[in-house]
């Protein structure tokens, strides 16, 4: 493979990186509205990247794009799965940038580095989902994580924000340590970090080569940290609560998807021969996440912490889909992600737009009575909450439904039962929020932020929740195609 070929394969990533560097320079122009300009350009960069990603020229260059193609040796892979999830990641990042504008202004932290960091985090995620080598995996992950640490602490004069950034960083470093240790064990056994070669080595290995299993445990634990699965989830509520709200929204959407798909690729490609082992771990953390996410969420008073637990529970559902491991389960997981990220961004959008006396609204009880003052916003939030709770016919219902269906089909009935039970428990806190909005008396005056970006995002997300009900085909087809291209034969 020549270099041109490789470049063509990584063209979207390269262009995104180049645009990011350019934006860094643009940000240096010292004007009052620089952040706005850079934000807009960031979104534009995402659009350009997405266009490059699926441009027919590039795909035809890659022999139609159905079979996976590798770049830089076997470091980087471009296949249907990667393309599908990259589009979702780009969309999620773009919406997150949209969501941020008003918040940053309001908290006087509007600096051009913010969109640039989101851009580099996005780049990291794109590299992660395309990684086909342990080292590529690690550098992609680090690129993403480092940007996220900084974003979490971005409101640097706020003690909570700094604290959350630091916590995330320290624990993230620990998880990176675990990851590297696991990778070194695997390398120690196999002598390679290449996914394809690893899968061949593992196929021949004795079924219970303990060194491999332990390497697998370390790697899995590190990834479980990234997707915030129990028991590696502890950072999530604190970080969501402390970080600026749009950053929390971003955390809940794009990085979750990237890490889950990375997880998927890792388990399904190099570790497939060890499926018996990792399935136990994944089922365990999936069940634990669903249980903890739905039960602990009940006791929350802060809406951001609530969303953190909600995201833990939702990761649990996605991991259940992952544990099913067959095509049904994996495409159900992709569909789930495609719904969930919009859903959670929309919900965060509503949280961001509510202010009391200029301050962000944090407590659930502050939502009291907003239905009277902002009926449309309350309606949108109702749609999001119902969807998260999995109430038919909203999109969230389909997301869960496909997973439950796949689990039952694969004979994993206990898993499906736990998933259903926990989603019933979790429905309580979603519905409670609705109840508070509509039936409780408001104690103080809550305003809605007039920012265009937030409103647009909330509206789009709510429409998506509803439109998916009547026209889910593009997403479902896309997910199925992505998985069929990924699992060949």
């Amino acid at each position: 493979m020549d270099n041109l070929h490789s470049l063509m394969i990584v063209l979207p990533e390269v262009s995104l990186a180049a645009l990011g560097l350019l934006l860094l320079l643009v940000g240096l122009v010292n004007r009052s509205n620089t952040t706005h300009v850079v934000s807009a350009l960031t979104v534009l960069s995402f659009i350009i990247t997405a266009a490059t990603l699926i441009s027919p020229h590039r795909l035809s260059f890659l022999m139609g794009g159905t079979a996976p193609v590798f770049a830089f040796g076997t470091m980087f892979v471009d296949d249907t799965l990667a393309r599908f999830i990259k589009l979702l990641i780009l969309a999620a990042s773009a919406l997150s940038v949209f969501l941020s504008g008003g918040y940053l202004e309001n908290h006087k932290i509007a600096r051009p580095e913010y969109p640039v960091l989101i851009l580099f985090a996005t780049l990291g995620m794109m590299l992660m989902v395309s990684a086909s080598d342990m080292i590529a995996l690690y550098v992609g992950l680090e690129l993403q994580s480092l940007a996220l640490y900084v974003l979490a602490a971005f409101q640097r004069d706020d003690a909570k924000s700094s604290e959350s950034g630091l916590k995330y960083f320290v624990l993230g470093a620990l998880s990176s340590g675990l990851l590297l240790y696991g990778i070194s064990l695997l390398y120690g056994y196999a002598g390679t970090t290449d996914f394809v070669k690893l899968s061949f080595v593992f196929k021949d290995a004795a079924p219970h080569t303990i060194g491999l299993t332990i390497g697998l445990v370390f790697v899995t634990a590190a990834l479980a940290f990234k997707v915030s699965a129990v028991p590696f989830h502890m950072w999530t509520p604190d970080v969501y609560e402390g970080a600026p709200t749009p950053v929390a929204a971003f955390f809940a959407s794009a990085p979750k998807m990237a890490a889950l798909v990375l997880f998927l690729r890792l388990l399904r490609e190099p570790f497939m021969p060890l499926a018996m082992e990792w399935q136990q771990i994944v089922v365990f953390i999936a069940v634990a996440s669903m249980l903890l996410g739905s039960f602990a969420g009940l006791a929350q008073k802060s809406v951001k912490r609530l969303m953190a637990y909600s995201s833990i529970a939702n990761v649990g559902y996605a991991l259940s889909a992952l544990a099913i491991m067959n095509k049904d389960g994996l495409s159900a997981m992709l569909i789930y992600l495609a719904i969930y990220f919009v859903n959670t961004l929309g919900a965060f959008g509503v949280i961001i737009s509510l202010r009391k006396q200029g301050q962000q609204v944090e407590a659930i009880e502050d939502f009291a009575g907003i239905a009277k003052k902002n009926p449309l916003l309350a309606l949108a939030m109702t749609v999001f909450m119902f969807s998260l709770a999995g109430v038919p016919p909203l999109a969230g219902f389909f997301g869960k439904y496909f997973i439950f269906l796949a689990a039952v089909k694969a004979g994993m009935v206990p898993l499906a039962v736990i998933a259903v039970v926990t989603s019933v428990v979790a429905a309580f806190y979603y519905l409670r929020l609705i109840k508070v909005m509509y039936f409780d008396e408001s104690k103080q005056i809550i305003d809605a932020c007039p920012c265009f970006g937030v409103r647009a995002t909330v509206t789009l997300a709510a429409l998506y929740m509803i439109i998916f009900t009547v026209w889910p085909q593009p997403i479902i087809d896309g997910a199925i195609a992505a998985i069929s291209g990924f699992i060949r034969g």
């Binding site: 916590k167 303990i210 332990i214 370390f218 028991p231 502890m234 602990a296 637990y309």
Partner: protein, 650 residues
């Protein structure tokens, strides 16, 4: 028949109810009255024309409206089935209803919610029409429940009165007991006949006469069981002994309501149902015996209570119950045409009496206690005349072969059929019916004398205001009075005479050897004269008691002592039910609620689970200490546990 008369007759009242019910205040009182009355009159006219077409020109109308339920062998449609029986009912219902509508314009003129009242009345009429035009049990049940609801709404029309609330709830609950029987009867029919279409049921009834059915773990004769269950429904609606306690209380509603629902139409639904199902009941003779005995007992018990009451409307209410008893024992001895005959004549004179009583109450500024009336016949002579006509019809005064008031023909026909049946229950019914006839005459004239004659016992304030009712109240009474006078004479031929077979066609069915109406022709003369004798002596005695020796009633009451008190207190039915059912149910409810629900189910069910979940949630979120080393430690433990797991598994 060029016009869809059947549709007009049935749906005009519904149209009125919808327009006025939805328009309510926007429409205004006057418009509401005009619309409902006009539509009711249309319906009444249409039913008279239908009567001519169906009953006199011998057609049967079947009109399919909409398919309703199609599930397996269950196939039910909304349909109108109009034969002679239905046509008679249509005339009665629409006729009385239109008169009551017009009467209400005057009677309710001071009320604040006239449109609501008119809408309810029309709605009731519609449900009643659905009931009588049904071609299957389910649609009949629909109408049955519909009139129940309308009755509830109308009894409780003055919903600010606690007594009206209680009465309406009582009426509804007691009817539920009957309806439960009716429902079981429908299920039984479906079980037996695999259909609830009348035509299917009637076609197969003869074959299934000896079938057994398992009900409540016993082997029972199928048809008898089904018929008895259906009859329980009829008992509830028609206030037969046992399920009668709601009817007197229902007098809490406005008087036009009492006249329409609780005298002329709804309470006769049970009689109509038994007659409609005559092809079924005819093959269940034991069930018929029960019907006859219950009817006869109701007849005498209600009449005896009527002797002692002082509330003018309650007297008429017990009278209604007693007359319904007549109708039922007529049906019980297979004299269905006699039952329907009495149903029709009774509708005229009882509506007349109720509306007359309403006129009296209107004149007396709302006073209903007869002890506070008297001597007002000069003030309200027209009402007085009308009440006389109604009472004469009720007491069944007339001379055989010459002329009689309406009740004379129908009541005598019933009594003669009873004795002619030659069965023990027929004879029992005759004896009790005769006694009841005496009592009927007595309490009717007791009512007239106490209300209109003697010295006025009202305070002068009321008396000063007493006045004859306006024309709009009196006018509707005229057609009813005409009916009370001539209906029996004119219709005799169709119900009891030679024209009977042709008139009814296949609407009623009687096993030939039990054709008691035919046999009634040939009973001894003595049986024909006894009822009249009873009536006249009842009137005389009442005259003596209340006009000549006015101290006798009190003496009589005190000498009878306990017996009088029992009758005056309606044989303690209400008290017994209160003790047996109401309190027991409340105790049981209390027990289930406090011990069962709160103490057990909630504690271990919803509340318990919810409590456990909350505790679990608190514990789960308590793990979040906020210390970064705790978090790191948790991660390390996680890894250690996973590794140990794989080590231990080998």
């Amino acid at each position: 028949m060029t016009l869809p008369l059947d549709l007009i007759a049935v749906f005009a009242p519904l149209l009125g109810a919808i327009i006025v019910g939805l328009g309510n205040r926007a429409l205004g009182d006057r418009a509401a009255q005009i619309i409902t009355c006009a539509l009711m009159l249309c319906a009444a006219t249409a039913s008279v024309m239908l009567f001519n077409y169906v009953a006199l020109e011998h057609h049967v109308l079947d009109r399919m409206l909409l398919p309703w339920i199609q599930s397996g062998t269950l196939n039910v449609s909304w349909a109108l089935h109009i034969d002679t029986l239905t046509a008679v009912m249509l005339v009665v219902v629409n006729g009385v209803s239109s008169m009551v509508h017009i009467y209400s314009v005057g009677y309710m003129s001071h009320d604040k919610s006239i449109p609501r009242f008119m809408a309810y009345l029309s709605l009731f009429s519609f449900f009643m029409l659905m009931l009588v035009t049904s071609s299957n049990l389910l649609q009949m049940f629909f109408g049955w429940e519909g009139v129940g609801v309308a009755s509830y709404l109308l009894i409780n029309f003055w919903f600010h009165k606690t007594s009206a609330n209680n009465a309406s709830i009582k009426a509804f609950l007691v009817n539920r007991v009957g309806d439960f029987g009716f429902m079981l009867g429908i299920f039984g029919c479906y079980l037996l006949f695999d259909s609830i279409q009348f035509t299917d049921i009637f076609a197969r009834a003869p074959q299934l006469a000896d079938t057994q059915i398992i009900f409540l773990g016993h082997n029972l004769p199928a048809l008898t069981t089904v018929c008895l269950l259906l009859f329980v429904g009829a008992m509830g609606k028609s206030a037969q002994l046992g399920l009668h306690t709601w009817l007197p209380d229902a007098m809490e509603g406005p008087t036009p309501v009492s006249a329409l629902i609780h005298a002329a139409t709804m309470v006769t639904a049970g009689v109509f149902m038994v007659s409609r199902l005559s092809p079924l009941f005819e093959y269940a003779p034991s069930a018929l015996a029960v019907v006859a005995v219950v009817g006869a007992l109701t007849c005498i018990v209600a009449a005896s209570i009527g002797l002692t009451q002082f509330d003018i409307k309650r007297v008429i209410a017990y009278s209604t119950m007693s007359q319904l008893g007549y109708m039922f024992f007529a049906a019980g001895v297979s004299a269905y045409s006699a039952a329907v005959f009495h149903l029709m004549t009774h509708a005229f004179f009882k509506a007349l009496l109720f509306l007359g009583a309403g006129s009296v109450i209107h004149a007396m500024s709302g006073e209903q206690d007869m002890r506070k009336m008297g001597g007002i016949w000069k003030i309200i002579p027209k009402t007085y005349t009308l009440m006389w006509i109604g009472s004469l019809a009720l007491a069944g005064i007339g001379i055989d072969g010459v002329f009689g008031f309406a009740g004379f023909y129908s009541k005598d026909l019933i009594l003669e059929s009873a004795i002619a049946s030659g069965t023990w229950y027929g004879q029992l019914a005759y004896v009790l019916g005769l006694a009841a006839a005496f009592m009927t005459a007595f309490y009717s004239w007791r009512l007239i004398i106490m209300t209109f004659h003697g010295k006025s016992r009202a305070d002068h304030h009321t008396l000063d205001h007493a006045h004859e009712s306006p024309l709009v109240i009196l006018l509707p009474l005229v057609p009813l009075a005409l009916g009370a006078v001539f209906a029996g004479y004119c219709a005799w031929n169709w119900f009891g005479g030679e024209g009977r077979a042709v008139f009814w066609g296949h609407a009623l069915f009687v096993v030939p050897e039990r054709d008691t109406v035919a046999a009634a022709e040939h009973v001894d003369e003595i049986y024909k004269w006894l009822p009249l004798l009873m009536g006249v002596s009842g009137i005389t005695l009442a005259y003596v008691f209340y006009a000549v020796k006015t101290d006798w009633p009190a003496k009589c009451a005190s000498s009878l002592g306990a017996a009088y008190r029992a009758v005056y207190n309606k044989y303690y039915f209400d008290e017994a039910y209160d003790y047996l059912f109401v309190r027991t149910a409340r105790k049981l409810g209390d027990f289930l609620w406090k011990r069962g629900d709160d103490g057990f189910i909630d504690r271990f069910g919803p509340d318990g689970v919810a409590g456990a979940v909350v505790r679990l949630a608190q514990r789960a979120s308590a793990i979040e200490t906020g210390y970064v080393y705790h978090y790191a430690f948790a991660m390390v433990i996680g890894v250690a546990v996973f590794i140990s797991w794989f080590w231990l598994k080998g």
